[in-house]
Amino acid sequence: MGMPVSSSPSPLLELRGLSKRFGTVQALDGFGLDVQPGEFVTVVGPSGCGKSTLFNIVAGLDEPDDGGILRFKGRGCHAKELLGQVSFMPQRDLLLPWRNVVDNAILANEIEGASRREARAKALAMLPEFGLAGFETQYPHQLSGGMRQRVALMRTFLFERELMLLDEPFGALDALTRSMMQRWLLDVWQRHRRTILFITHDVDEAIFLGDRVVVMTARPGAVKLMRAVNLPRPRAPDLLTSPEFTAIKREVLDAIEEEAMKSFISGTAAPP
């Protein structure tokens, strides 16, 4: 069961009127979103809608333009203060080829200054949960795409931060692996109780995973639709064909369609 969406008085992350311009390109324009502790929020939108810019800001890598509000744990802050405060997983796994599975998984902990021995012990205990038992001494080039992705996810989970940013983590996987990974992620999320902000292109994935789906407008990115997903948890694959699911999907698809047409007509459907 997801955490209550509206009753918590203090959101973990508050974004108000967030804008970002790169040269002549307005990537984000007045983006606003509150994320409650323990919530799973998914973000969908047409290509080039500024999703990655949004993530780079929340990860602390990019500073938003002046005028917006960025609050984390109830305190206003610069984006750069979020470096090391949120657990970020980019689209590609970015595993280091010279580190084996365990040492890749503990990279963030090592950077934090944790004892390597303790971090390794923790990672070893976590391996079975991530379907990597017995693979601890393998190197990335010896693993399949799905396994590499799980190592990257494990690295993200081991970096114990309340807020996790997942940028299309399953985008490169085949459909079957993908749906298995989705159910597995929900399982892990419910056990570890983290707050997740999740970017995806896939509407089914957004609804299946999220407590709330945020649809972004075409560039410049803003919130087009905010839709609560009041579907029971734990969620099983047959949910995908239920009338409740389909109703939400229709609503989300309509919103996306409208935005996709806009960006198609303006001919600026550039990559993010």
Binding site: L83, L94, L107
Partner: protein
């Protein structure tokens, strides 16, 4: 190198040597044109103590200069990566120095460091240093922007990113530079010896030419090439062992 390739290489070498021997003997070529392989080998055997002593001198110069140059090359590249402003100031100067063939510096280096081993070591260190410096700098720069961002998001600073990402990511290129530098180190040591020295393989080559002893020249060349091959092979083997993920 796998076993088949090794066998093919050995067969090729034997064939070439046999052809060489046949030509030199069959055409009765004079020694100053091309002595027979058997003559060269005989000379190596005959003068082995002299050649061995010379090889030790040259090997010592090359190895010492190599180690100094490699450390300096990696060190300077590291410094320029960690201190960005320094890079803008120092890089053009370094590239200007490097644009002159390193041997052009030898008269000055001989003048400053004398005819002994010191000048050879300095010359080798210069040649190796630039080779390794340029490959290290290229390696440090080659990292994926997204990997740097990931490390930053984990809270890593410039030094942490260097140690955990840039340095290991640069290792394949640094190793390639180190491998190329092995051969350069011996070439530069020998050439500098030919310009003025008290010993070494280059000095023997120079002396033998003035004495019109061309078989001895070839004997010294053979020893030099054996030394060079051994060095190259050793560093290449280390490289394959260390950089297992390629």
């Amino acid at each position: 190198m796998n076993a088949t390739a090794a066998v093919r290489g050995a067969v090729g070498a034997v064939l070439i040597l046999a052809l060489w021997e046949t030509l030199a003997r069959g055409l009765a070529l004079p020694a100053y044109t091309l002595p027979a392989v058997s003559q060269i080998l005989a000379a190596v055997a005959e003068h082995r103590s002299v050649l061995q002593a010379a090889a030790l001198v040259t090997g010592f110069e090359a190895l010492t200069g190599y180690v100094i140059g490699a450390l300096a090359g990696i060190g300077v590249a590291t410094l320029l990566i960690l201190a960005r402003p320094l890079r803008a100031g120092a890089l053009p100067l370094l590239l200007a120095i490097n644009s002159v063939p390193v041997v052009a510096w030898s008269p000055l280096v001989l003048l400053w460091f004398g005819m002994g081993v010191a000048s050879k070591i300095v010359m080798v260190a210069l040649a190796v240093g630039f080779t390794v410096f340029l490959s290290a700098l290229a390696g440090f720069d080659r990292v994926d922007r997204r990997s740097v961002d990931l490390m930053r998001s984990f809270g890593a600073g410039r030094f942490g990113i260097f140690w955990r990402l840039r340095l290991p990511a640069a290792l394949p290129l640094i190793a390639a530079g180190l491998r190329v530098a092995t051969v350069r180190s011996l070439i530069v040591a020998i050439v500098t010896e030919m310009l003025g020295a008290y010993g070494g393989l280059g000095w023997i080559i120079y002396q033998s030419v003035t004495l019109i002893d061309f078989v001895q020249v070839w004997a010294a060349i053979l020893v030099a090439s054996m030394l060079s091959l051994a060095f190259f092979g050793l560093v290449g083997a280390l490289e394959r062992r260390l950089i297992f993920w390629r």
